[in-house]
């Protein structure tokens, strides 16, 4: 190969390099990122329960170019429905699961078998699967504790307390119960109502009839709403203490039926869950545990400027 050929070839090579750089850059900048498909599975008993969480999820989904499919499992049915949904979602090629489920050993075992590549993020409550997952929740124990200390502050001497825990297989409920008991001690507690699945209104009502108490404490949104349905006509101010952030609950805070409410920031929980899922799907599989803030609300501070924004999220 003569010098001349060498020279020509080198120049050609240089230009070819430039060309391929251009092609690569051009093509790759055209395309958008992969759209991830994420399924959310939540226990819910009505459409309002998770509306704030859904807003957070949807806002994040738009930002991270993710497609979200939200599924709700009734709080009263067993594990089968939940497993069916998960199986179906996995079959349809979902990339990740965001879960809020009860701790059922059969469920955990099945999940351990089913979840291979799927990324898991748990919100509000966690279950002990062997695969690594990120966990985003409020400090459940502290929530219970704060609720308890508020109750203790307002409680008049000699009045009785009934604690409605709800689904004792839900980790979050148990942690809150522990926090609550830690705050109030168990002297004043007349009864604690808990079950393997979420309690119905009838069960609570009948328990109230059976042994009425002066204060009813609900440890999650579902039971709190049920307690409110029972107590709203009662008229006694501040006899309900609860957890949650639905319109109904907020209404009754305003009415004064709820003496104190602990409201976790579900919007952020939803947002962070998608954010965390996005990170996991992009190979950052550190097991993160993120704490979500909560507010302690009562009738007096409900309309405070900062509280207002979180308790009355703008829904059109």
């Amino acid at each position: 190969m003569t010098n001349k050929m060498k020279y020509i070839l080198s120049i050609l090579l240089l230009i070819l390099l430039l060309f391929s750089l251009g092609t690569y850059g051009y093509m790759s900048s055209e395309d958008k990122n992969d759209t991830y498909h994420v399924s959310v599975i939540l226990e819910s008993n009505n459409s309002e329960r998770w509306s704030i969480l859904k807003q957070g999820i949807e806002s994040a989904a738009k930002e991270y170019n993710t497609e979200i499919n939200i599924n709700t499992v009734s709080t009263k049915t067993g594990v089968t429905e939940c497993l069916d949904i998960i199986r179906r979602e996995l079959k349809n090629g979902t990339d990740g699961l965001i879960l809020d489920l009860s701790n059922n050993s059969k469920l955990v075992k099945e999940l351990d078998d089913m979840l291979l590549d799927t990324q898991i993020v748990m919100i509000e409550s966690e279950i002990p699967i062997s695969k690594g997952y990120s966990y985003i929740a409020p400090d459940n124990y502290k929530m219970g504790y704060d609720l308890g200390s508020n109750l203790l502050k307002n409680k008049k001497k000699g009045k009785t307390i009934g604690i409605v825990v709800g689904n004792k297989k839900k980790n979050s409920n148990m942690e809150r119960k522990n926090g609550l008991i830690a705050a109030i001690g168990d002297r004043n507690v007349s009864w604690i109502l808990e079950d393997d699945s979420e309690l119905t209104e009838e069960v609570i009502a009948s328990k109230m009839n059976e042994s009425p108490v002066d204060y009813l404490v609900g440890l999650n949104t579902v039971v709190t709403e049920e307690i409110l349905d029972i107590s709203k006509d009662n008229g006694t101010q501040g006899m309900v203490y609860g957890v949650g952030n639905t319109e109904k609950i907020v209404y009754y805070v305003d009415q004064g039926v709820l003496g104190c409410l602990v409201a976790p920031n579900e919007y952020i929980m939803g947002y962070m869950s998608v954010n965390s899922m996005f990170n996991r799907l992009n190979y950052d599989t550190k097991e993160e545990r993120t704490l979500v803030d909560y507010l302690v609300i009562n009738k007096e501070n409900l309309y405070d400027v900062e509280n207002q924004k979180l308790m009355f999220p703008m829904v059109e």
Binding site: L16, F19, T23, S28, N46, K91
Partner: protein
């Protein structure tokens, strides 16, 4: 020489790999990973409307059912148009851009579906209108437009019939002042709204055609809203007091507002005038149970929800509709109303 050749080879390899990568990236993203899924976009005219709320709840339940049965992932996106047609139009736009397979529209303004129809047609996405009916000519503009709902005047007639039946049964219980004329007030849903107009007219007409005389004491527009109806009724109570013998309400929410007003005035339920509503929402049914609402007309929100859900799935998968859902003229599904009173209440509750 060898060294040069080697350099040349390496350089060529780099070039080729870059080019291929670039092209590969562009094409590779178009993989279709979800094998079976569909997306439904729903825009409701006002998601605070109790009827719509309950309709959506039933819809969610039916969708979940269908998901389990068919194994297809169905994601539903519900948007609130907050009584703004322009907002609804842009929501439909978003649905189309986000790849919805079916769009369900609960029109804010029934005279203005043009933009929605045009956009859906050019994107070739079928539209199911529900509950708020559009003009027949508009529905015929494309063969992929459907309507699920009820016959509006049927509800008005039935509401009137409720009063007629009660009068036939015991006129004097209703005609409190015994002048043989039914004094009534009318709570109207919305100015210029199709259903409101029809219900208003046919309810009273039915009564007069049955031979009873009526006298309108007052009417007000309460925007389908319970609290607003309550306010208006309070004003009437101040003005007319016991003279009010019948309260016609275009829907249950407003009827409940009237009931709230009467309750607040201290009147006992058995002294209430005959209050009738339309919808048959669960709160309405509760009020019927309670006796404060004398009757309502069940707008089969459950049936409608089921019809919409089945129709959505059928449009995408191509499967047949279940046998009890029939497409009228290939585009209408109209579910019949049903009168609800204290007497047939249990049956209604059982059938839900």
């Amino acid at each position: 020489m060898k060294q040069f050749k080697r350099m040349l080879c390496v350089g060529l390899c780099i070039c080729i790999s870059f080019t291929l990568c670039g092209c590969g990236l562009n094409n590779g993203t178009k993989k279709n990973r979800i094998t079976k899924s569909m997306k439904i976009g729903i825009t409701v005219y006002d998601h605070y409307d109790t009827f719509i709320l309950e309709l959506m709840d039933s819809f969610d339940a039916y969708v979940k059912d269908l998901e389990t049965k068919s194994g297809i992932t169905i994601s539903v996106d519900v948007e609130n148009a907050a009584s703004s047609q322009s907002l609804q139009n842009s929501q439909v736009d978003d649905f189309i851009n986000n790849g919805c397979d079916v769009i369900c529209v609960n029109l804010v303004d029934r005279t203005d579906p043009t933009m929605i129809i045009d956009k859906a047609k050019s994107a070739n996405i079928p539209v199911i209108f529900f509950n708020r009916e559009l003009v027949e000519e508009d529905l015929e503009r494309w063969d992929q437009l459907y309507y699920v709902g009820a016959v509006a005047l049927e509800s008005g007639i039935m509401e009137g019939q409720l009063v007629v039946d009660a009068c036939n049964n015991d006129f004097n219980a209703i005609d409190k002042n015994g002048d043989g004329i039914l004094q009534y007030v009318m709570l109207e849903g919305e100015a210029g709204h199709q259903d409101a107009i029809v219900r208003t007219e046919y309810s009273v007409n039915t009564v007069t055609e049955a031979g009873y005389d009526v006298e309108k004491l007052g009417y007000a527009i309460a925007n389908w809203n319970r609290a607003q109806a309550q306010t208006k009724t309070v004003q009437w109570i101040e003005q007319f007091g016991d003279d009010i013998e019948v309260v016609f309400s275009n829907n249950d929410d407003m009827a409940l507002g009237a009931i709230d007003a009467f309750k607040a005035s201290g009147m006992k339920i058995m002294d209430f005038p005959m209050i009738v509503g339309i919808d048959g929402t669960s709160v309405g049914i509760d009020a019927v149970k309670e006796g404060s609402l004398k009757g309502t007309v069940l707008n089969d929100q459950d049936g409608q929800a089921r019809a919409i859900a089945e129709l959505c799935v059928s449009l995408i998968t191509g499967d047949e509709l279940p046998s009890d859902i029939v497409l009228d003229e290939g585009r209408h599904i109209r579910l019949p109303h049903q009168m609800v009173t204290r007497f047939n209440l249990q049956d209604i509750i059982d059938s839900k």
